[in-house]
């Protein structure tokens, strides 16, 4: 990494970028895209923010390719191109990171942050996580609300609250052990269905089938599903298809977990 004086990246200076400065700027642009991609931003946002950063900090154009799990980015300045590729590994959905990256970019556009300041701010982002017990309880309450919206009785909602909270806690724990999400969703669906299935032999509430349906709703892959359609509508077909395929695989894993629990404990029946 060549060390360049910050004045080279000053958007106000009319002098063309040195090669070192352009190289550094290219790295910053793809780092921006990579952070967004790893934490669940849609493709249009990834491309838009990377391009705006490059153009604000002085390259003529930024071209970007967004793929299912990698990014390609080229900056063009004074007829010099620099291209770089990054492989992206999924870090889990984290909207806090997406917001921080966007606000750093807005500060650059407002002129209050230069390239060095922007890099420092990106490096300082520490993904925020809610405490696991709190998230688990909130998700338990959410699934209980779904049960209520589907006209389950209050006892049934209580069953869902317990089953979904425990399942979500396990899911977050298993995710921290770096198991594949597919394994995780299968396991979580099995545990949630088994726990909610206890309401039938224990005679808890009059709507045991609705409890079974609501307790696994924490596994609906909302982000891949919505980002997938959203990417496809905006013309990013390949990432859109990839996201939808991922959502399908996760749902299939959940279905397998549900069906296994139903078969083992004989819980069959339509809600």
């Amino acid at each position: 990494m060549s060390s360049t004086p910050p004045s080279d990246l000053d958007p106000a200076s009319a002098t063309p970028l040195t090669e070192g400065a352009q190289r550094e700027l290219t790295r910053l642009c793809i780092q921006t895209g990579l952070l967004l991609m790893q934490h669940g931003a849609e493709s249009a946002l990834i491309e838009n923010l990377s391009r705006r950063l490059g153009e604000t900090l002085g390259v003529d154009r930024v071209e970007m390719g967004v793929f299912a799990n990698s990014l390609v980015l080229t900056t063009l300045s004074e007829r010099h191109c620099i291209t770089t590729v990054r492989r992206s590994e999924d870090r889990g959905i984290n909207m806090h990171v997406v917001i921080e990256v966007q606000r750093a970019l807005l500060a650059v556009e407002a002129g209050t942050l230069d390239a060095d300041g922007y890099r420092a701010r990106l490096e300082a982002i520490r993904p925020f996580h809610y405490p696991r017990p709190l998230t688990s309880l909130a998700i338990g309450l959410s699934c209980a609300s779904f049960a209520r919206l589907a006209h389950a009785d209050w006892t049934g909602c209580g069953v869902v609250l317990v089953a979904s909270s425990v399942a979500m806690f396990l899911r977050l724990h298993v995710a921290r052990l770096h198991f594949s999400p597919v394994v995780n969703f299968f396991f979580t669906a099995f545990v949630a269905t088994s726990l909610a299935g206890l309401s039938e032999p224990l005679k808890l509430g009059g709507t045991p089938k609705l409890a079974l349906a609501a307790c696994v709703l924490l596994l609906v892959p909302g982000f891949p599903l919505i980002n997938g359609v959203s990417d496809m509508v905006k013309g990013y077909m390949s990432t859109g298809l990839a996201r939808l395929a991922y959502a399908t695989i996760l749902s299939a894993a959940s279905c397998a977990g549900i069906i296994l629990a139903m078969t083992l404990w004989n819980l069959w029946g339509l809600p």
């Binding site: 959905i93 917001i99 998700i139 609906v220 509508v233 139903m262 339509l270």
Partner: protein, 153 residues
Amino acid sequence: MIALGLLENVFFAAIPAVGFGMAFNVPARILGWCALGGALGRGLRFLLVEAGLPVPWATLLAAAAVSWLGVWAAQRLHAHPKVFTVAAVIPMVPGVPMYTTLIALSQIQREGITNERLATALTSGLNASFIVAALAVGLAVPGLFVFRKRPVV
């Protein structure tokens, strides 16, 4: 009766919107917008369905309304609307129809096909897919019609 139903929908939609917002690590200061969006979406959909609109179309309009709220809030929060609109439309995800489809299909696989099982699987499955598609397209409405060239934030 409608007022009671509306109140129930609004209240029980705000909870999962916040819950899923937390699962997506939406910062605490923005969780209120998740709740508001969730309540708006589900409440509006309830009213539209009561007025006689089919559920998928009502979902489309409700999701578009949530997305517009998202645009309005995004410009004040300096954050992309998707940051909280995705959590806000989660309460409209057709969980029970999806589940019913799964159970009906696996009963067909295990115990053989009957007209009743096939009908349940098809109607629930179609219902669920139309609603999910309506949700996603509804969320994209501001981007498709107004923010075509310029970014929201």
